[in-house]
């Protein structure tokens, strides 16, 4: 029997505390990034930090409402929310507003939001619902294809906007599928593809002269690869079909290797090409394509061990770093709080991610577990790309740092994602299945 216990006793307060810490730390950073000596007022809607305070208050109310909802709401409305997301993604392509080259916003007077934020939530719910349905087994191809369709549909619609960052976030669901039984070979394949992609671009710039013969980087790579395949074949020469498989691998790798150049120069947009070239160190243009990352690294790098002190940062405050309240908010942490602050921030995120996975695994409901994995995976993707970008380890892709970056739409969507999970988790003991 379910007793009328206050739901607050069952809530995972650690997750809530980590959330609160990140939001508070985030607000401080937004305050610092926009601080100037002339106006240091906190409660004003003129400034980003003033508005963010309002968004935080509204997010708290939103979180409360989610906790008070019936836990069955999420499962029952999973497909409906997914359906609405897809509808909105279609609608935004037709009547949305284009901001920074992507038609991804609805603007209604003072309120504007991105349907892709809701799509993450909707897709998570739909994925969890589908995979937890009785009789659905991820090992079956039919079900795999349907799973793929659930994820791919919104991802493709977002790509049409085009919003590369949000599309990439949908790759996070592979982590969920991995937990559901997706072979790790896919990941190896993925890593190999990325590696070869990078090598194909990276080695273009090199050539060596050996005994008077000019050897281009690409040729050297291919020679090495051919040698490796030959070695593997030598070792496996007695195994049946080895020649066929290795031949296939060799041929497809070559095809892929040579298509990289074509894809790179014909499919990717020039600004994407520049960002990748900059990241790989193929070109260095600190005033052009590399400006953002260059400035971001200066801001973070100049923080030193303990930082310049709260409100003492010069690079972020004086607009050397672009987008310093949103995508590059981490620069403020790095500059004003130094390595120590960065360490705390990374640990806060890590703790929250591990906590979500740990709680997910404790669930008796596979819906809640799968949903929890979705939440962790999405947060992880944002965290990795965003921080990686600010310190020059990932290409510049404009996606926000969860709970940190300025903006109501992103704060709310992450709050909904997390608090839905906290709500579902709080019902853990009352679910029998």
């Amino acid at each position: 029997m379910r007793t009328k216990v206050s739901i607050f006793e069952e809530i995972d307060w650690l997750s809530v505390a980590l959330y609160a810490a990140l939001v508070f730390f985030g607000w401080l950073s937004i305050y610092a990034a926009n601080y100037d000596d002339q106006s240091s007022q906190i409660f004003t809607l003129e400034t980003n930090h003033g508005k963010q305070l309002l968004w935080i208050a509204l997010a708290s109310i939103l979180g409360m409402i989610l906790l008070l909802l019936d836990h069955r709401f999420f499962e029952s409305f999973g497909y409906i929310i997914y359906g609405i997301s897809v509808f909105l993604l279609l609608a935004v392509l037709l009547v949305g507003t284009e901001i920074k080259g992507a038609q991804s916003w609805f603007v209604l007077g003072p309120v504007s939001f991105q349907p892709s934020e809701i799509a993450k939530f909707g897709t998570s719910l739909a994925l969890a619902k589908y995979l937890s349905t009785m009789g659905v087994h991820f090992s079956q191809t039919k079900h795999r294809l349907r799973t793929l369709a659930i994820v791919a549909l919104p991802a493709l619609l977002i790509m049409l906007q085009p919003d590369v960052g949000s599309t990439l976030v949908f790759l996070a669901f592979t982590l969920v599928l991995y937990r559901q039984g997706l072979s790790s070979w896919y990941f190896s394949l993925g890593f190999a593809a990325v590696f070869i992609f990078i090598m194909a671009l990276f080695l273009k710039q090199y050539e060596w002269t050996v005994f008077g013969i000019i050897i281009q980087g690409k040729i050297a790579f291919l020679a090495g690869f051919t040698g490796l395949i030959a070695l593997v074949y030598y070792l496996l020469r007695k195994v049946k079909g080895a020649l066929l498989i290795l031949g296939g691998v060799f041929a497809s790798t070559l095809l892929y290797f040579f298509s990289v150049d074509y894809v790179f120069s014909n499919v990717l947009k020039p600004h994407h090409q520049n960002r990748i070239n900059e990241l790989l160190g193929i070109v260095s243009d600190p005033l052009g394509a590399g400006y953002n990352v260059h400035q971001s690294k200066i801001a973070i790098g100049s923080g030193g061990f303990s930082g310049k002190g709260f409100l003492q940062g010069t690079q972020t405050k004086f607009n050397f770093v672009p987008e310093q309240s949103t995508d590059f908010i981490f620069c403020t942490v790095g500059e004003e709080w130094g390595f120590l602050g960065s360490l705390i921030l990374v640990f806060l995120f890590l703790a929250l991610l591990i906590r979500i996975i740990w709680l997910s695994e404790k669930q008796r409901s596979s819906f809640t577990r799968i949903y929890g994995y979705c939440v962790a995976a999405i947060l992880f993707m944002h965290f990795s790309i965003n921080i990686g970008m600010t310190i020059g380890l990932a290409p510049v892709i404009g996606i926000p740092l969860p709970f940190f970056s300025y903006g109501g739409s992103s704060l709310w969507s992450f709050t909904i994602l997390l608090f839905s999970f906290i709500k579902l988790d709080s019902e853990r003991k009352f679910i029998l299945r």
Binding site: D36, D37, L175, Y178, R179, Q180, G181, S184, K297, I298, A299, I300, G301, S302, G303, G304, F305, Q312, T314, Q315, K317, F318, N319, F320, G334, E335, G338, F339, S342, L343, V346, F347, F349, L350, L353, I354, I357, W358, S360, E361, Y373, A376, F380, F383, S384, I387, G388, I391, G392, L393
Partner: protein, 606 residues
């Protein structure tokens, strides 16, 4: 499902690996690699040098001789000035586009990120005209400087001038930075360490648009500039101005000293130049013009550097040294024997006073002969050498043949020939009185500079001693400069006949300097006419007044002006009256001097 549940470990491991990679990277860029820190400082901080105001130089009545005016260097940080509207900028600055490009590439050659001077030393007016539109040109800003300004345009040879430091200065003294000013001549150079003050530093934060956003770190790293110390000099501005007017269109110098304390009241070298010509951007061009003026050589400081034979004024020293050494008494008489040395027509002097008053050459020929024939050796040559040694020593005690302790650079010492000097020229025991007799009347190998002549007048006025002639009495608010007293070793009483004679020179009928007479002021003086093998003789006059309470001692030297009583004496008297009374009563005398042009006197070319 158990097997799949273990996959959580890999998922968590992926989180940890990414976090670890980030922390490693952060550790590297934040702690190990310093370059980001300096990049940040270069971008967001602007180090502005606060230039100290140079010390002001005052005259004895606290009137300003040289002070500062605000000026601005227009600075540029090339990297920040890349996108400006060049056409609009060139229009405001009134320069050609080519000129702009040239200057910017010069600045770039120094550094793209650091500020260089785009245009030096704009006046306040020029700068305020462009300042209001400067916000449109990021990368440009004004750097406050000070320039020297001379309200009365006088005393250029005393004050000297400042200029920008050159490579040599920078190498010798680490105090200086490129673009600093340094005293190059005169008091500016002599008191450079006191006048220059100390540079300050202001660290400002600028935003990405190069707009100043306030002091960095609350001004913690700022250093206030310390202004240079002011100098209080002994110069009398009014007298200096008057003296320069009198010397207009004449070549020569005037040095006036306050005998009581050795302070120089006026120091004039003519032709002179307007010190304001050597200020700021026009300095280099004007300097060239002044330096290339061969015939007048206005940059040459005659008062300190021109070596002249003293002529008849030297008879004063001869008299004193002779009295002190007891080779004559004040009543000794010698006939005016023109076979010894040339003389003008006058009755023979029956005593020393008359000899000085009439400036009798043969008289002093015989006095000098007694001086360098002391009878200490039976060998005529040895005896003369011994005599000359003693004489030279006595003469040097008057500050001749040595560098006075004056606080100005480039001071010459003049020369008093010694035994060693003649031994070198003629060989030991190969010379005697007959070789060196022209010294007796201040000719020959004697070389004296005008300030030494003025110092002689001061020494006689003081009856036997002089205080180091000097310009600066006080540095800063309360640091008095101490100058020492120098004794000539001549008994005080022995000065009376000399001084009486000097008064007769001015006042007695037949005195050689009647033109120096002033009603109501007892002026004592002595004329001289130094032979000039190249043309008209040089006119010399030294004097002090009043006789019994000397307030001013003066030497006037006018080149190519002939007889000493004609030009030098009246100039000296005008200066004396101006100083003692504040105004001049004899306007006839004044106008004659003011209108005289002695530059066109014919000079033999050789």
């Amino acid at each position: 499902m158990d097997e799949l549940e273990n996959r959580k470990v890999f998922v968590i491991a992926a989180f940890v690996v990414v976090a670890f990679i980030f922390l490693t990277r952060l550790f590297y860029i934040q702690i190990i690699d310093d370059s980001y820190r300096s990049s940040a400082d270069n971008q967001a901080l602007r180090y502005v040098t606060k230039y100290p105001a140079r010390g002001i130089i005052y005259d004895r009545k606290s009137q300003v001789l040289v002070q500062n005016q605000a000026a601005f260097d227009l600075m540029v940080v090339p990297r920040q000035a890349e996108d400006i509207d060049t056409i609009a900028f060139c229009e405001i600055m009134d320069i050609e586009k080519m000129e702009y490009k040239e200057r910017l590439s010069k600045a770039k050659a120094y550094s793209s990120y650091r500020a260089s001077i785009f245009q030096k030393q704009l006046t306040s007016d020029e700068f305020s005209r462009i300042a209001e539109s400067l916000y449109r040109f990021p990368g440009f800003y004004g750097q406050k400087r000070t320039l020297r300004t001379y309200p009365d345009s006088v005393a250029s040879h005393v004050l000297g001038y400042v200029g920008e430091v050159n490579a040599g200065h920078l190498e010798r003294d680490s105090f200086y930075r490129s673009g600093d000013f340094i005293g190059i001549s005169g008091l500016e150079r002599q008191y450079e360490a006191e006048l220059r003050g100390e540079r300050g530093l202001e660290v400002l934060m600028v935003d990405v648009h190069n707009t100043v956003q306030g002091k960095y770190s609350g001004g913690n790293r700022d250093v206030e500039a310390r202004a240079g110390a002011d100098l209080a000099t002994s110069i009398d501005l009014d007298l200096q101005v008057y003296g320069e007017r009198l010397m207009n269109d004449k070549k020569g110098s005037i040095v006036a000293i306050s005998p009581e304390d050795g302070g120089i009241l006026a120091l004039i070298s003519s032709p002179s130049y307007d010190p304001n010509l050597l200020v700021g951007t026009k300095r280099a061009r004007n300097y060239q013009l002044l330096a290339s003026n061969d015939s007048l050589d206005p940059l040459f400081n005659r008062a300190l550097m021109a070596k002249y034979p003293p002529g008849s004024i030297f008879k004063l020293i001869q008299s004193l040294v002779a009295l002190e050494n007891n080779v004559i008494s004040e009543n000794t008489g010698f006939p005016c024997n023109k076979s010894l040395v040339g003389c003008h027509n006058h009755t023979s002097a029956t005593n020393l006073r008359e000899a000085i008053q009439m400036s009798c050459n043969p008289y002093f020929h015989q006095v000098f002969k007694r001086l360098i024939s002391p009878g200490k050796s039976s060998n005529y040559f040895v005896d003369n050498a011994l005599g000359l040694s003693q004489w030279a020593k006595d003469v040097e005690d008057f500050g001749f043949g040595q560098r006075l302790a004056l606080d100005l650079p480039n001071l010459k010492s003049g020369s008093v020939p010694t035994t060693e000097y003649y031994d070198k020229i003629y060989g030991k025991r190969r010379w005697a009185f007959s070789t060196v007799y022209s010294l007796s009347i201040g000719q020959g190998e004697l070389e004296v500079i005008p300030i030494q002549m003025a110092n002689l007048a001061a020494t006689i006025a003081n009856r036997g001693h002089y205080i180091d002639p000097h310009l600066v009495d006080k540095v800063g608010k309360d640091s008095n400069v101490v100058w020492s007293k120098n004794e000539t070793g001549i008994t005080k009483d022995l000065f009376e006949p000399i001084i009486d004679a000097m008064q007769w020179v001015v006042e007695k009928p037949g005195g050689t300097a009647r033109k120096a007479r002033i009603d109501g002021i007892e002026v004592c003086g002595k004329t001289g006419t130094a032979e000039n093998p190249h043309g008209e003789d040089h006119s010399v006059f030294i004097a002090f007044a009043p006789k019994d309470d000397p307030q001013i001692a003066i030497a006037v030297y006018v080149e190519n002006a002939g007889y000493g009583g004609t030009w030098a004496a009246p100039i000296a008297s005008l200066m004396i009256e101006k100083f003692i009374r504040g105004s001049v009563s004899d306007s006839l005398k004044e106008n004659r001097i003011l209108e005289a042009n002695l530059l066109d006197v014919e000079v033999d070319e050789d």
